[in-house]
Structures are given as structure tokens and as C-alpha cells.
């Protein structure tokens, strides 16, 4: 063995819509939208569209598929037309990676100083990742995470992850 047992793959069919608004506005939106905006900080919950994550007191990400990107955007836009809110498609600004396998902890511990062991399934965190920045979704603790990095860094981070995973770290 000369590498960690992990699989690293790009997440290709992911659309991201960024929502900035106050918590009160978010509460109102939840009543209008077909999905719920989480109120717990740094948590993601499953919705009919996909994962919806609360990243800051006034920021949410709605993850969906690319073919639903415009529909989700329009839905949010229409719902916030008279509100102080910002709805922005950011699917191309970010690139997602999934890191899965039995050995993801030592690989992630090389990429980020964030203590992921304290985060259970459904947690989201942000921080330095592979010397750039990353938004990390803990899908299954110590087994599977999804990381979103600025897409301009994607090629570098893919190579970096392959390097720190070692020779047997595979990429789909």
C-alpha cells in the first residue's frame, strides 16, 4: 500500500443558488417556497431540490441539478421581489468534489486545519482548504464529504488531493 483508500471525484451536475437575506426574510420565504431554509447555523438539510445549507446568519446555498438551476433561481427571485435580498446563480463560481472512502480523515487532515471530527452528518463548514478556500459538507462523518472550491482553483485542487491521497487514491 502506498496511498490512502479514498475516492475523489468532481461533482458535475450541481447547480448552486446563493441567497442573502435576513433571518426574518428567510422565515417568510420558507412559507412561500417548496423547500425549507435551515435555521440552525452551519447545517444542511435535504429538500426536494437537493441540499439546502445555511452558511452564515444571512446566507444560504440551495443545491440543485443544473437543469433546475434557472427554475430555483426564478422561484427565489420571485419570492424576494419586494425584499432586501440577493439571489445569485453561482454554479460556475464553484466546483464541487466528493471525497469518500475508509481513509478520508487523514486526507482531509492534510487539506484543512478545520477539525472535521467534531462535525456530524449534515454539518457544513468553511475554511482554508488545500491552501485556497473550501465549503465542506459532511455527508457521512469520516466516510464521505463534499467540498466546494472556487472553480478557478479546481484543477490545482484536484491534483493536490490526488497527491495527498497517495498513489492509490483514485479519481473517477
Amino acid at each position: 500500500m502506498n496511498g490512502y483508500r479514498v475516492n475523489i471525484r468532481r461533482l458535475d451536475d450541481v447547480a448552486l443558488v446563493n441567497l442573502r437575506c435576513s433571518q426574518d426574510t428567510a422565515a417568510q420565504l420558507t412559507r412561500k417556497l417548496p423547500f425549507e431554509l435551515p435555521t440552525a447555523p452551519m447545517r444542511a438539510s435535504e429538500s426536494t431540490e437537493g441540499l439546502v445549507a445555511r452558511l452564515a446568519p444571512d446566507q444560504w446555498w440551495i443545491r440543485t441539478t443544473l437543469d433546475r438551476e434557472q427554475a430555483v433561481f426564478s422561484s427565489l427571485k420571485d419570492s424576494t421581489v419586494n425584499e432586501f435580498a440577493a439571489v445569485t446563480i453561482i454554479s460556475d463560481h464553484f466546483q464541487g468534489f466528493e471525497i469518500a472512502g475508509d481513509n478520508i480523515d487523514p486526507v482531509l487532515a492534510q487539506a484543512t486545519s478545520v477539525n472535521l471530527n467534531t462535525l456530524n452528518d449534515g454539518s457544513v463548514t468553511r475554511g482554508k482548504f488545500a491552501r485556497s478556500g473550501g465549503t465542506i459538507f459532511v455527508i457521512e462523518q469520516s466516510k464521505r464529504v463534499q467540498v466546494f472550491v472556487e472553480s478557478s482553483y479546481a484543477d490545482y485542487i484536484e491534483a493536490y488531493l490526488a497527491s495527498i491521497a497517495g498513489a492509490t487514491g483514485s479519481r473517477d
Partner: protein, 949 residues
């Protein structure tokens, strides 16, 4: 051979071949290089740093300062090279190839040993006094060749390194008895515990005493307890090298068991609590020639006998001032080594110890000292005297002189944490003082010794007095610091211990005074008639032991040495032979696109001419892009920029100048008003700073403003088609908006270009008609290729960053990151036209008012026309009023050969530049000085009619 027939922790069934100074030897698995060399009778390992004196092995651990070697290869990586490695901690492996350092051609016959003869001319402070005058370059080369502890590797290591973060409730450093017990107690309380230790197995100093000892058995049982293994994350072969703020400890692990493909792993451990159980190291005694090969710490000799089954000598003399050395005396005697004498500086050593010696036929000489060791490359005699009469001496033959001057608790990590050690008279050593972080010290590093003698008794002896005996008595081996050096420092009034350190270099370098510092402090205290605690310690600095660059770098090497950012056009650029380079904010960009056989300069000029006369295409994706939402965006922009934005119409953009609070240039860029939000663009390198600037304002000072900012830099690619034919290129590609007529300069429209949904803006950074097309990242490459195809009839040319720079210099466009030098204000830069001082406020306005009120000469941006039409002046060159003058009046900020003007041009910051157009000045570069005419900074199309066409 001096390998003992029995004992030790080595595996005699696993012989290992290795090479030292080109000669092959054999050792065993479990050996260090030092133990294997001793087992083969090798005593001379290398030469000392300054005087090139013969040096051997003095310790058996990480505190070693003498037995330093260079690794020249390993079985798995024959080309591997690593300098400054301690033989005493280097694990022996099959095929290991090492050599001595600080000697040429070999340690037996070393040319550099002439320094020893010249030593009267090379006292402490020699460098400081001698190399102050004259050009440093004259002697730098020779000094650099002579300095250092080995050779820097010439090729990259094939070995793999890793850098990893860890978090734990409790970090225990040291798996000796105290550390093990602390770790287990913490673990039982429910805390997560990480236990790092620099040895292969737990046990600490008990690994070095004879097995069968009761304490030894108890600790072995503790280490082997499955409960211990379950509760504690035990990390062996790991040296904690630094202790930083907020309980961050950095440690280096060698060949981790969980990842055998890794050579070294650098840990960054963040702990709620740190327990230091780092132990203590024995202290040398200071007497003449105490550095001769064969002079060894008593505890080290004991380690070689017990742990490695090596007799470090055949006839040993012990010299001690404390009770701990007797354990070593007994173990060596029991191993069959003849003990010539035990010289004990204490007037009344313990009777039971003397009796135990007598039982073994060993003579003990109380109240006595060794005043000198003799022998050139190997100790041959110890000269002994009574402390009460140093003139009456006798020589005792020996090939091993074991010394014990007491013990230095390893307070280094405690000191790294910001705490100050304090002197403990009881053990004549410095121990940890008050903790400043959540840290505590236990065991020997706290001064709680656990020796196999009943009590620890010591009579502090910082140096042995002499009776006129000549020779060097070393207080710090690493940098060859002698008692005479300390005397000189004190004579020259360097009396603070920090000054003594810097003057003599005692306590400096890689060992950070582990062995020598206490003696240095003791000697200084003695000379100044003070107590050691009045003198205090210097600050021990990280790293505790040297850390390889490989470990520091981890995976950040080769192509991954720096994080790099790509644009969606990068694959096309690479495929078409672009010369790629880092161009701000980690973006890799094409600098130029050379045709086969074409020079760089020619490629840059060709693309510039294409833009001026036809069409060029430029990937401007890295520009920062931010969406601003909310009703108060106009108010925010009015504060951020020097000009007004609240009157900007939808679909229009405006160039803005952003200042810092001190009125200096922060960034410039164009901001567009869209239907329901605003789109701000800014310089690539400034983007993250601008975003932070805005967020900081919104979150701290302008919290009343309803504005959200969203970074969309990588959401949108930005493709710039520029040149007089650019309109035709877009039309040829297919565009569903009218590009002429009403589509004015500084407007933005939604459009479909070559089948791609986009936003098209009329902005120019080239001075030509230009269209910037924003498309989603996913569509950008297809759009780029479509534009290239559509541009073929117009000979469209890809443009790199260098060409872009030429075009902007020709136009005299200011770059905030280039002409802005943290002093430049907008008026200096010729951008006063964009500053609306009548606005109620904007960031930086107050300082600008002050600038305007004070008639202080300032540097202004000007153009330069060098008199030599072939010579491109170097950026950074100084501007002088005349040849030979030292009146620095500015510098060249940007310079190029202008293909449009067919001559070199430059932009510069020049004192009172605006008033000096037409004047001649001297541009002074490293290689050449040249006259140049000062001009306006705009060399091309000063009215801007081409870009507005």
C-alpha cells in the same frame, strides 16, 4: 568490534549494511548510526564548526551537537541527500550512505583544521569586527563556503512528505514514565489524548537502563497495557519541534506506521491542554579538551551499553559532580568495561555508592576533577587533580571519558510557549516557570528526577578551574564557544546573557543550547559574582531539533508548490503554446503566444500591432467581479469611489477610483448598473482585498447600509475582443444586438453571442475599440473558440498579459498596483479628473484635502522617452537630475518597447513631474544610465477617440 556479546534491544538476526565516508560497515536493526559506528570502532565522526577540531559522539539522543553527518543516499532513494543529521538519532537502515561534515578531504586529514592553529586570530566577535568594512561581496563567497553543516541537496528528494493537522483535548509530549502516566490519567478522565514521543517505543530514559529494573518493568507493563493502546493515540518516532500560540504544537514524525510510504510527516496539533514530559539531558563538564572523541556523557555511554549492546570504550574514566553518574558506572563495569577511576567533584559522595564501586574494584576520588583530556583524535588520558590543589596532577589512561555535570530539564518547549524558566538550586538547573498557556510540565523536564540512586545530589560545577593548563574548554560545542570567549564578551561589557549569546553565539544554532546553555549561564554568573537565577536564560527558539524542508513543504512541491488558478480558456492557451506564468492572485495566465521560432519580444509586439490595426482577443477572466444588491448600493459606491455613482443609468458603467482611508490608490475598475443589481469589476490582484474592504465597511462602519455583496469572479468568464476590427469579429460570430449606433462606450447589454447567452460591455484597457463579453464559465471555452473562428478572416490574434501591458503603457492607463506605490494619490496619478471633491464624503477624501492644502512636492506619473531608441529601461530604475547625482527623484514604474511608436517608452513617478514635461533626466539602472525626456504619460491617442469609435 566493540559489540557486546549479549543484551541490547537490537535485532541480531537482522544485519544491515551501511556506508560511512565511503567505507562499508555492518550494524543491526535497532541501531542508530551512532551506535553502529561505535560498534565498528569508529570514534571520529566529523569536525567542529569553527575550529575544525576532531569530534566524536558525545550523546545518544537529539541533543547531539558533534556527530553530525550528511546523508548521501538510502536504499530506496540512492540520490537522497540531507545535511545536518544527528548520527545519534538516525535510524540505521540497509544501504544507508552517510559522510562526515565540516571536513575536507576527510575527518582524519582536514585542511580546515588550520583554523585551529589560527584560533588566536579568530576569537568571539571576530566576524562582527572584521567584516564591517569594505564590500561584503568580497568575502561573502568564502565565508559561505566555509559555513554550514553539510551540503544542500542538488536534486529533489523522491521520498514523500506529509503535513497534517490534528486536534486533541490533551497532547502529551514524551512517553517516559511521567508522560505515560499523565496520558493514561487524562485518557481515563474521558479526554482525547495524543501522546507523541521521539523514540521507537515508550519508556523514556528507562529504555536506556538495564532491563529487569523494577521501575522499568512497571512502565513496560503500562505501555503494553491494551487499555493504554485503546485510550491513547500514541504517535512514536515523533519530535515536538515548536510550541506556538493558542496551544499549537508542531511535531515531526519519521516513517509513520499508518502510512509507510511517508518518510516524514509534519504534525500541526491544536490541543486544549499540553503536558510536557520531555525529560532532561545530561550536562557536559567544562574542562580543557572536553570535546575530544571519546569524551562522552555518562548517560550516553550507559545507553550504548544497555540499549545497543555496544562498548563505547575499553577503559573508562568517569568524571561527575552528581550522584546520577554512578548508575552508568555500574552498568559499564557490569558489561565488562574497565573503569579506571571515578572522579567525583563532590567532597563527600554517598557512602553506599562508594561501597558499591569498591565491590566492583573501582576507585572513587572525591573532591577531584579532570582538568584536561589528552589525545588528538581520540582521548588517551584524563589529567586529574584535587579540587583543593589543582597543581598536583596525575594522568589516568582511558579511551572513554564519561562526564556528568548534572541534568538540564528540557524546558525548550515551555520556553517556546512564551514562559520563562526559573533556576532551581536543588538540582542546579533551570526548570519551567509559570505557564502562560494551558500547559504544564511533569517528570524530569519539571526537575523531578527519577534516577536509580535513592536521591539526586549535585555540587554545581560550571567549569573546572585550571592550573595554567593551556587548551580550549568548551561551554557550547555546536559553535565552538569556549570559556575564553565568554571572558572576552564580559571584558567588552556584553554582560547581559542575551548579549553574551549574540557576541559568542553560545546557545545559538540547531541545538539551541540543550547541553551548553546552563554552563554558559553558570560561568557568566560565576564571573559576575551573581547567582544563575539573576542571570536568567536566553529565549529558546523553535525548532527544538532541525526540521527538513521536505517536512515543512509536505505535498507543496513540484507543480503544487503554489496554488494556481485557471480560467476556462487555460486548456486552449496551453494547447496553443502560450507562455504561461503567475499573474496575480494565483492566476496562471498566458504572457505571450509565440509562433514557432519566434522570440518573446517579437510575439509581444506582433500581438500589440494586431490590436492596433486589426483584432486581438484577450482572456480577462481573472478580473475581480462582485454583484452588489440592495437599495443602498449607490450610497455605498459614492463612499467607495472618488466619483459619483448614484446618477448612473441602468445599462451603463463608470470607471471608478477606490482609495484607502489614507487617500492612497487601492484599486480602479468599472462598475455597471444592471436591472436589479450592480456589477463591480476590479483588478485581479486587488480583488480579494477589495472584497474584504467592502465587507469590513458593511459589517463594522456602514452597518446601516442595506447592501449584499456576492463574489462572482469565477462565475463569469470575460473575453475581450479588441481592435478596430473587433466589431466585425463579433458580427461575424453572430450577435443579436446592434453593436454600432446606440451601443456607446461604457455601456453593457445582454446579448447572444455565437449562440451563447452573454453580457457585452464596451470597455477598453487597450485604447482601441473593445468589447468585453461576459459568459458563464461553462460556456466560455466554446465562445472563445467561436470568436477565434469568426476572427480568422480578420487575422485575430490571441493577446497575452505582456502585450496587454504594452498597450496600456502606450495609452498611459494607470495601474493602481504599479503606479500606485502606497504613496500615490489620484492627483499624482493624473486622475484628478475623476475625483469629485464636492461630494459630501468618500473614503480617503479627508487625506486628499490635507494633501491639497500642503504645498509639499509630490511624485507625479509622467512618461519617459529614453534617448537611445533601442534601449528599454529597466522597471524600478532610479530617476536622477543628472549623471552621478544621488538626488533620487523617482523611479520607472513600467517600461516597454512600443511597437506602435517603434521606440522604447516608460511610465514613471517623478518628483514634481507634472511641471517637468520636456525636461531631460537620467534613468539610472543596474547596468546602464541613460538620458530620457520627460513627457505626458499618454503616448497614443491622447483624446481617446479610437476606443470610443
Amino acid at each position: 568490534m566493540t559489540r557486546l556479546q549479549h543484551g541490547g534491544s537490537i535485532d541480531r538476526d537482522q544485519p544491515l549494511e551501511f556506508t560511512f565516508n565511503g567505507k562499508r560497515y555492518q550494524g543491526y536493526a535497532g541501531d542508530t548510526l551512532a551506535s553502529a559506528l561505535l560498534a565498528n570502532g569508529v570514534r571520529l565522526i566529523g569536525r567542529s564548526f569553527k575550529y575544525h577540531r576532531p569530534r566524536g559522539i558525545v550523546t545518544a539522543g537529539g541533543e547531539e551537537t558533534n556527530a553530525l553527518v550528511q546523508i548521501n543516499g538510502t536504499a530506496d532513494d540512492p540520490g537522497f541527500s540531507e545535511p545536518n543529521v544527528r548520527a545519534t538519532t538516525l535510524k540505521l537502515t540497509h544501504g544507508l550512505d552517510v559522510s562526515s561534515v565540516n571536513c575536507w578531504p576527510n575527518p582524519n586529514l582536514d585542511v580546515g583544521a588550520i583554523n585551529s592553529l589560527l584560533s588566536p586570530l579568530l576569537p568571539a566577535g571576530f566576524y562582527y569586527k572584521t567584516f564591517m568594512a569594505g564590500p561584503w561581496d568580497r568575502y561573502a563567497g568564502a565565508i559561505r563556503r566555509a559555513a554550514g553543516l553539510g551540503r544542500v541537496p542538488k536534486v529533489p528528494a523522491k521520498k514523500r512528505y506529509e503535513r497534517r493537522y490534528a486536534h486533541t483535548d490533551v497532547l502529551v509530549i514524551g512517553a517516559g514514565p511521567a508522560g505515560l502516566r499523565a496520558a493514561l490519567e487524562a485518557a481515563k478522565s474521558g479526554a482525547s489524548v495524543m501522546l507523541v514521543d521521539d523514540q521507537e517505543t515508550p519508556g523514556g530514559h528507562l529504555l536506556d537502563v538495564k532491563s529487569g529494573d523494577g521501575n522499568h518493568a512497571a512502565i513496560q507493563a503500562l505501555a503494553a497495557d491494551p487499555q493504554t493502546a485503546d485510550l491513547i493515540n500514541y504517535v512514536p518516532r515523533t519530535t515536538a519541534t515548536g510550541y506556538y500560540d493558542h496551544n499549537l504544537v508542531v511535531a515531526v514524525q519519521r516513517q509513520p506506521d499508518d502510512a509507510p510510504w511517508i518518510y516524514e510527516r509534519l504534525w500541526h496539533v491544536r490541543a486544549r491542554e499540553v503536558i510536557l514530559a520531555t525529560g532532561a539531558v545530561e550536562r557536559p563538564l567544562v574542562f580543557v579538551n572536553n570535546d575530544r572523541p571519546g569524551v562522552m556523557l555518562a548517560s550516553a555511554a550507559r545507553t550504548y551499553v544497555n540499549r545497543y549492546a555496544v562498548a563505547p570504550g575499553q577503559r573508562a574514566v568517569f568524571f561527575t559532580n552528581n550522584s546520577s553518574a554512578y548508575g552508568a558506572v555500574f552498568d559499564l563495569a557490569d558489561a565488562g568495561i574497565t573503569i579506571g577511576a571515578v572522579i567525583d567533584a563532590r567532597p563527600e559522595p554517598e557512602q553506599d555508592l562508594i561501597a558499591a564501586c569498591r565491590t566492583r574494584g573501582i576507585s572513587v576520588y572525591p573532591n577531584s576533577v579532570v582538568i584536561k583530556a589528552t589525545g588528538k583524535k581520540q582521548v588517551a588520558h584524563a589529567t586529574i587533580a584535587s579540587r583543593s590543589d589543582l597543581t598536583r596532577t596525575r594522568d589516568e589512561a582511558c579511551d572513554l571519558l564519561c562526564m556528568s555535570g548534572g541534568w538540564n530539564p528540557l524546558v525548550h518547549l515551555h520556553s517556546h510557549s512564551g514562559a520563562k524558566p526559573v533556576y532551581d538550586e536543588r538540582i542546579a538547573a533551570f526548570v519551567p516557570g509559570e505557564s502562560v498557556q494551558n500547559e504544564r510540565s511533569v517528570g524530569a523536564c519539571n526537575g523531578d528526577f527519577d534516577f536509580d540512586t535513592e536521591t539526586f545530589d549535585i555540587d554545581a560545577l560550571w567549569e573546572v578551574g585550571h592550573n595554567g593548563t593551556t587548551g580550549k574548554a568548551f561551554v557550547d560545542y555546536q559553535n565552538d564557544v569556549t570559556t575564553a570567549d565568554i571572558d572576552l564578551a564580559l571584558r567588552e561589557n556584553f554582560q547581559s546573557i542575551e548579549h553574551v549569546k549574540r557576541y559568542t553565539t553560545a546557545g545559538m544554532a540547531t541545538d539551541q543550547g540543550k547541553m551548553g546553555n546552563a554552563n554558559v549561564i553558570g560561568v557568566v554568573a560565576q564571573r559576575l559574582a551573581q547567582r544563575p537565577d539573576d542571570i536568567g536564560t536566553t529565549t529558546y527558539r523553535p525548532p527544538f531539533t532541525p526540521v527538513s524542508f521536505g517536512a515543512l513543504g509536505g505535498a507543496d512541491r513540484g507543480a503544487l508548490i503554489l496554488p494556481t488558478r485557471n480560467t476556462p480558456i487555460t486548456p486552449w492557451n496551453l494547447e496553443h503554446g502560450a507562455s504561461m506564468n503567475e499573474a496575480g492572485a494565483n492566476f496562471r495566465r498566458p504572457f505571450w503566444f509565440p509562433n514557432p521560432g519566434e522570440s518573446d519580444a517579437s510575439a509581444i509586439a506582433r500581438a500589440a500591432i494586431a490590436v492596433r490595426n486589426g483584432a486581438g482577443i484577450y482572456d480577462a477572466t481573472p478580473l475581480g467581479k462582485f454583484e452588489l444588491h440592495g437599495p443602498d448600493v449607490p450610497q455605498l459606491l459614492n463612499l467607495l469611489y472618488t466619483n459619483r455613482f448614484d446618477d448612473l443609468k441602468v445599462g451603463h458603467g463608470r470607471f471608478g477610483l477606490m482609495l484607502r482611508e489614507d487617500g492612497r490608490l487601492l484599486d480602479d475598475g468599472v462598475t455597471f448598473r444592471m436591472e436589479d443589481h450592480w456589477l463591480m469589476t476590479c483588478g485581479t490582484g486587488a480583488a480579494s482585498g477589495v472584497l474584504m474592504h467592502i465587507e469590513r465597511l458593511l459589517q463594522t462602519e456602514l452597518t446601516h447600509l442595506k447592501v449584499y455583496v456576492v463574489n462572482v469572479t469565477s462565475q463569469w468568464a470575460n473575453i475581450c475582443v479588441c481592435g478596430p476590427q473587433s466589431r466585425a469579429v463579433l458580427q461575424s460570430a453572430g450577435v443579436d444586438i446592434d453593436l454600432s449606433g446606440d451601443f456607446k462606450f461604457m455601456q453593457m447589454k445582454s446579448a447572444n453571442v455565437a449562440g451563447v447567452a452573454a453580457r457585452v460591455a464596451r470597455v477598453s484597457y487597450t485604447g482601441e475599440l473593445s468589447f468585453e463579453i461576459n459568459a458563464r464559465r461553462r460556456d466560455a471555452l466554446a465562445l472563445w473558440e467561436a470568436l477565434i473562428a469568426a476572427g480568422k478572416p480578420f487575422d485575430i490574434t490571441p493577446v497575452g498579459s505582456e502585450t496587454s501591458a504594452v498597450l496600456r503603457i502606450e495609452k498611459g492607463f494607470i495601474s493602481a498596483g504599479t503606479e500606485g506605490d502606497n504613496i500615490t494619490n489620484p492627483f499624482d496619478a493624473g486622475l484628478g479628473w475623476i475625483v469629485d471633491m464636492d461630494k459630501p464624503d468618500f473614503i480617503g477624501k479627508r487625506t486628499l484635502m490635507r494633501d491639497l492644502e500642503h504645498d509639499i512636492p509630490r511624485q507625479h506619473v509622467v512618461g519617459l522617452l529614453p534617448e537611445d531608441p533601442e534601449f528599454v529601461v529597466a522597471e524600478g530604475s532610479a530617476l536622477l537630475p543628472r549623471e552621478g547625482s544621488r538626488d533620487f527623484q523617482g523611479h520607472v514604474t513600467a517600461s516597454c518597447y512600443s511597437p506602435t511608436l517603434d521606440r522604447p517608452i516608460a511610465l514613471a513617478l517623478l518628483k514634481n513631474g507634472k511641471q517637468r514635461h520636456g525636461e531631460e533626466i537620467v534613468v539610472s539602472g543596474l547596468d546602464r544610465s541613460i538620458k530620457a525626456e520627460v513627457t505626458k504619460p499618454v503616448f497614443y491617442d491622447p483624446k481617446g477617440t479610437r476606443m470610443r469609435s
